[in-house]
Every structure is written in structure tokens, then in C-alpha cells.
Symmetry: none
Amino acid sequence: MNDNARQEPPSRRSKRGRKLDPDGTRREILREARIEFAEKGFSGARIDDIGARTKTAKRMIYYYFGNKEGLYVAALEQAYADIRAMETTLELDHLSPELAMCRLVDFTFDYEQENTDFVRIISSENMNYAQYLKQSRNVKELNSNILDSVSRILERGYAEGAFRRKLRPLDLHLMIISLCYYRVSNMHTFSVIFDCDLTDAETSERHKKMIRNTILCYLCSDDEHPGTDA
Amino acid sequence: MNDNARQEPPSRRSKRGRKLDPDGTRREILREARIEFAEKGFSGARIDDIGARTKTAKRMIYYYFGNKEGLYVAALEQAYADIRAMETTLELDHLSPELAMCRLVDFTFDYEQENTDFVRIISSENMNYAQYLKQSRNVKELNSNILDSVSRILERGYAEGAFRRKLRPLDLHLMIISLCYYRVSNMHTFSVIFDCDLTDAETSERHKKMIRNTILCYLCSDDEHPGTDA
Amino acid sequence: MNDNARQEPPSRRSKRGRKLDPDGTRREILREARIEFAEKGFSGARIDDIGARTKTAKRMIYYYFGNKEGLYVAALEQAYADIRAMETTLELDHLSPELAMCRLVDFTFDYEQENTDFVRIISSENMNYAQYLKQSRNVKELNSNILDSVSRILERGYAEGAFRRKLRPLDLHLMIISLCYYRVSNMHTFSVIFDCDLTDAETSERHKKMIRNTILCYLCSDDEHPGTDA
Amino acid sequence: MNDNARQEPPSRRSKRGRKLDPDGTRREILREARIEFAEKGFSGARIDDIGARTKTAKRMIYYYFGNKEGLYVAALEQAYADIRAMETTLELDHLSPELAMCRLVDFTFDYEQENTDFVRIISSENMNYAQYLKQSRNVKELNSNILDSVSRILERGYAEGAFRRKLRPLDLHLMIISLCYYRVSNMHTFSVIFDCDLTDAETSERHKKMIRNTILCYLCSDDEHPGTDA
DNA sequence: TATGAATGAGCTTTCATTCAT
DNA sequence: TATGAATGAAAGCTCATTCAT
């Protein structure tokens, strides 16, 4: 998904019989790289395979991205750019705090579920201890708006008395993403171990409702339950 | 943790003056393999490196485990066996439903946080679409008790009127593990993007409480919040 | 040194706002190629690097010189042309045979020492078994005058009785060049092995005197020393 | 030359149908590497070609020498070890100073002429600015005896009054090696430019005598010839 | 049981060169 | 004249695995 909507530019040809289209070539490589990296992770991905997916020669990967790392970082940046771009289209400010929060949760749920590529490349990068993400300057800036969104909903909710639980925006975001992400990132082992299918439409709908209610119940209540540590 | 407590067995010696200790050798390989696989995933792990970590030659890996896949599957099974073994020591049945649930959540939180190796090897296996886990027979059996535990707590809670939310044990387990797992599995990218430290003791304690209350609030209430789909 | 003194020619401009200056471009490429080839030899030199050194695109290398070999041959020819041009300015004929010989030796010493690029590109070509030099027509003609110079000095020396040793001009030239060339061409290994610095000014001056006296002593004497072969 | 005299050890087989002979394999690779490096220099040499020359797989190069650099350094060390080993067999101390010096010169002349491989690999390393030789510890120690030999001859010559020219051993060694080395290292360009054949037996003999006399004349005289600098 | 030696297949990357404008 | 884009061939090196003892 993502930049799939682009229509073929000027005109491109196959391996032999070349045609010049630098931007198109670059984008094609990036798109296929992202799929490959999402499927196999950084170390499992093969430059050869990415090259084979494209209409141009594998050699162009080095022409445009320098090396495997450079390509991976570019794919990672694209992945983050895409989700943040989507988030900005949500228009949460004109909804009631409660509805806005529901919409945010639902959006997160849907996005993770529909964009397994995104989930997988992020998981892959965590296997790398985020060493490549750290190299990227742009990514850090991209991600401030999601916290702003959460923050604004919370404040409005507190002001209107709809939310009683005092929470840091970062913590709330963590909970939402955790609930939406895990069932996609870990669906394979989960399915094997518990012999179930998390992609089933009915299950999916049930989980979405469950997560939405979990977040809202927590926000609207201020009950405390005893821990077991001390 | 785990098989660290092994005591030195008999002790004959090979030509090279090395102790002959088949079981010890096997366990040493397995222990180091698990660390390596947890660090780098299946494709990133190196047989050479695992060999170098052990006191014996890498050749023994093939002797005992056949090939890389065999070693990986064995490491995976160990990882699951360890957590399930821990779970059975919880003794939840003599606690009140509410306290039992808190204990289960707290345990899950602590285990994931303290055993990043476990989290990472499971994430790695999800990058592999669980293809190796599917090969393992034993693993599926091992994992029934966690659902039983959840199930028993729920039933007692419904019977006593402590819990009002009707839930499938599997769904509840999914929520708990999601909340506890993500903050460990994705701590690296999360930390980079939001410039925070999820391993910080204070943060950790705050999250633990938050997750516990989230689960309990949800269970004890039966409020429904409107979705944004239809 | 050498073609540095070129003056800027006309100056039209290309689309990219670059000056159109065919001859200047060609000379710039040749100058940088010579540096690169001298530094790394034929096989070690990189077309990309030569391109990067110039203000124009590497594509122009192929435009002007055809291929790597063509560029290398051109650089080689330049190198020979430069030294032979210098040699013709020596004006040895109006000096006494002895002084003329000293002057020739000193010049050779200085030139090799100051033009390490020349020394290195010649060494490089010897690593190539002179295969590229053989392709060049012009080079062979260029090098007759040095032998003529030596020859004339010798004849005058014999006529005047200053030199008693009968020698072929070619052999004498070989000796002079050997003594002056080696200490430049092999300075790196020599320095490492014997832990000394051949570029040191004092050392350099001592060697120059030594070489001069070596040649002159040999020429002026006719002693024979017994060999150890037969 | 060099370690060619080794007779085939236990028994080695061709590519398939392996036989174990670690030391033989290592030596074979080293011998062929030296030939390849001498022929083409470091950057021109091909690991593939070295592998093809041997009876074992190219892969073993990495097994024994790590990488191309490691192999090159090993070949370089061998080259120096060989010539220094030969030099120690000269037994110069029981000859008269004059004869000893002649013998040393003749030996150097013969060795360089007969071991073009040695000359070429040293030239190659100078093209590399001796960067690899600098990595080698052993080489520096190996090369002290040649200076000792020169030193002892000189001292005896001064004591007996045979030599009148006061010289540093290092400077004298430099002259001898220069005269013997250049005509081998630069024979290809020299032959092309001056249309002659330096490998011709008669020429070779004439040059040997010339070099011997040059060195001896210089040592036995103490004439000074005026320079042209100041 | 234990181990060093050996290897084929394949991986990332480099390099001189040509295409198309 | 000038240039960016594109490429095949090959280079150095890695990796899981097997051989032979």
C-alpha cells in the first residue's frame, strides 16, 4: 500500500531497452524493498530478490541508495512517513473527546491490521535494536503529531469531565498501540499456540470493540486495583 | 535464567584434554544458541558465532542438533517451556478472582520485562511467519495451562459477581500479553521516536500499575462505547 | 608541475551553466588521471575517482579518451614528454665533460626526487610488463635525446682524456637512473625495513653527492676488480 | 625458487575427493599467491585466479589467511624471509674485504635477476606505499643481518686500508641494491624505450661486471667531484 | 564423543562501460 | 559538447554444511 496510487510516469521499459525515469526507478526500488524487508527483515532480505522484483537492474539499488543499509533506512523512513501522513487526516478536533478517542483507537486498529508490512518492518527494526532508525534524522520529527493529537483529546476530555483518569499522553499512546500492534505482529505464533485465526473478520471485529472499550473504560473510571508486589 | 543451575557431571576427558560431558555440551550449545537467536533472529544468527560462544567446536552443533533449523526449534521450545513452567507456580486458585487476575497481570508484566530474550526470540519467529514453531509438536501442548488459568479466574469472578464483562479467556489473554509484550519488543523504536526510556524503574512501575488497572477496570465494568465504523 | 600554466580559453557555457572549454576539460582530466594512476597504478586506479577529481562528469573521460587504457596511455606519454622536455634545457655542451656529467647526474637525481608521480607511474607500467607503453608510438621517439646527451659527454671526455673507462652510453644511463630512481621508487619499503627516512634533506644531499662521485670515480678510473663467478 | 624444493607431503587430492593436509594446503596457497601478486600487484591480483592455481578450493584462502590483505602480507613476509635466508649463507667473513664486497654485489645482482618475483612484489608493495609491510612485525627483524654483513666488510676494509671512502653501511647497501634492482624492476619500460634486451646473457654479464667495478672503484678511491647546486 | 579441514552456493558490492538525451 | 541514468560481469567474501579422522 502507500505510494501504490502513483500512475506509471513517462514510460518505462524492461531490463534491456532502457528508458530514463530516475524518479520512477527510485520509487519502484523503494516500494519493492519495503515489501522484501517487511517479509524477511534486514538480514533475511536479499538484494538480489529486490532487484528481481523491479523492472530495472539490481545495480540501480547501489546507484540510488548506496548499499543495503541505505535502502533499508529509506524504506523505514517511508513506512513512518506514511502512517503519520494518514494520522493527520483524522480531523479529531471537531468530535467529542469520547468519540475522538474511539476514532483514534479504531484508526490505529485498522491501520495496523491492514498494513502488516508496516508492523513487520518495525518489528524487524526492533530486532536490530533500532540501530538503523537511529541513523535517520527526519523520522524523529515526523512523530510528534500523534502525541499532540492524543494530548488534545485528553485535555478536552478532562475539561469536559468525560475522562477522570489522569494519564500522560505517551502512556496512553503506548497502550493503544500495544493492543493494536501485538495481534498483528505476533499473530503467527499466537495462532499456532492457541489454534485460532486472528485474521478472521468476526474475531477482528470483536477485538476492535474490545480494545476500544478497554481504553475508554480505563479513561472514564478512576478505580485503583491493588498490586501484588509489595 | 533457566538451566543455569546445572551441576558439573562426571568428567572424563577427550584427546584434546577437554571434558567429555555430552549432556553439558548439549545444554551449553542450546543456551548460547538461544542468546544468539534472541539477539539476531534466525537469519541474522551465525552458527560460527554460536560455536565461538561455547567451549566446544561448532562442529558439535551439527552433531547434536542436525542443522541451524533444528537448533533454532530447540531454542524456541526451551523458551516456551521456561515461561509455562513459571506460570504453573503461580498458585492463583486460592486468591480472590480480582487478586488472582492482578497477580497474573503482574507476573506477565515482570516476566516479559525481565526476559527480553524470550520476547525477542518470539518476535523473531513471527518474522518467520512461525514456520519453525509449526514444526514443533510439543509446543502446542505446553500452552494449554495458561488459558486454563485465565479461564478459572474468569469463571470464579463471574460466579462471585466481581467481573461483569463477559469475555473469552483467549481474548483476555491476548490483551494482557499485548500490553506487557509491546513495551519490551518495541522499546527500541519507541524510545528513539518519542525520546523516552521504557526501562527506567519509575516508568516501569507506572506502566505496570496502569496495565493492571486497565485490565481490571475493563473486567469490572460493562459499559459499551460507540464505534466509528458503521 | 607541467601543464599547470594553462591559461583560461574563450568561455561559452553549457546547459548546466558549466564553461564550454574542450581543451581545458581534456587537460584537466589528463592531469588528474596522472595523479590517480601514479597513486594507485593502472589496476588500482578508479575511473570514478578520476571523474570525481575533475569539475566535469566522468562521462567525459570516455568522450575524450575512449576507455581506461586510452587514458592511461595518454597519462604515460605525458609523463615521458615532460621529463624529456626538461632534459633538453640542460645545455650541457658548453660545460667541461666532467661538469656536464655532474650536471646530468644532479638533474636526474633532483627530477626523480621531486617528481614521485613520474617514478610511480613508470613503476606501475613495469608492473604491467610495459604492455601499454608498447602501444604508444610517440614515446619511443621522444627518448633518443637523452642517449645523445650522454653520448656526447662521453666522447668529449674520452677525447680530452678526462674519462678513461670505456662505456656504452646506454649502460651509463642505466647506472645513473638506477641510482636515482630506486631511492624514490622503493623508499617506502626501504624506510620500513631499515627504519630510516630517505626524504630527509640531509640524507638526500648526502646521497646526491655519493651518486655523483660514484659515477665520476667509475668513469675516471679504469681499475678492474675480480668477479666471483668463474 | 624458494619453497619449491618441498616434496609432496602425505598425499593430496584434487578439488573433489578431499584429503587432509593442512600445512601442505597452506603452503600451496601461499606459493601460488606469491606468483599471482608478483605478476599483477595487489589490486590486479585475483583471489579467483589464485584459487584456480591451487588444488584446493578458493574458499581455503579465507580459511587460512582471512582475506586478500592477510594473504598478501603473508606472501610479502615469505619473499623477505627467503632472500634474507639466502644472504646468511654467503660466508663473507673469511674472504678479503675486497673479495667479500665483490661477492656480496654479485650475489645481489644474481638474486634480483633470477627472482623477478621478489623484485615485482616489492615494487608492488611500494605502489601501496608499504602500507601492508607496515602491518608486519616479523619483517623488520629479519632485515638486520644484511646491514651487519655490509658493516663488517667495511670495517675490515678500513682496517686493512683496502677501502678509503668513508661510508655508512646503509648508504652502501642502498647503492648496491639500486644498481641491481632497477634493471630488473624497470626492464620492461627500459627495453621498450631504448629498444634493447636486458635479459640477454652477454648484456647481463657486462652489467654485473660494471656494477661490481662501480662499487669497488668508489670504495677504494676518495676523490670528490664538484656538484652543480650551489 | 569430539574436532579441524574442506567446500559449494550464494551474498553484497564494485567497476568499467554504454545508453539516451 | 556535455551529462545523468543504466547495466553486465565479476570481484571479494560469508555461510551453513560435510568430510575425514
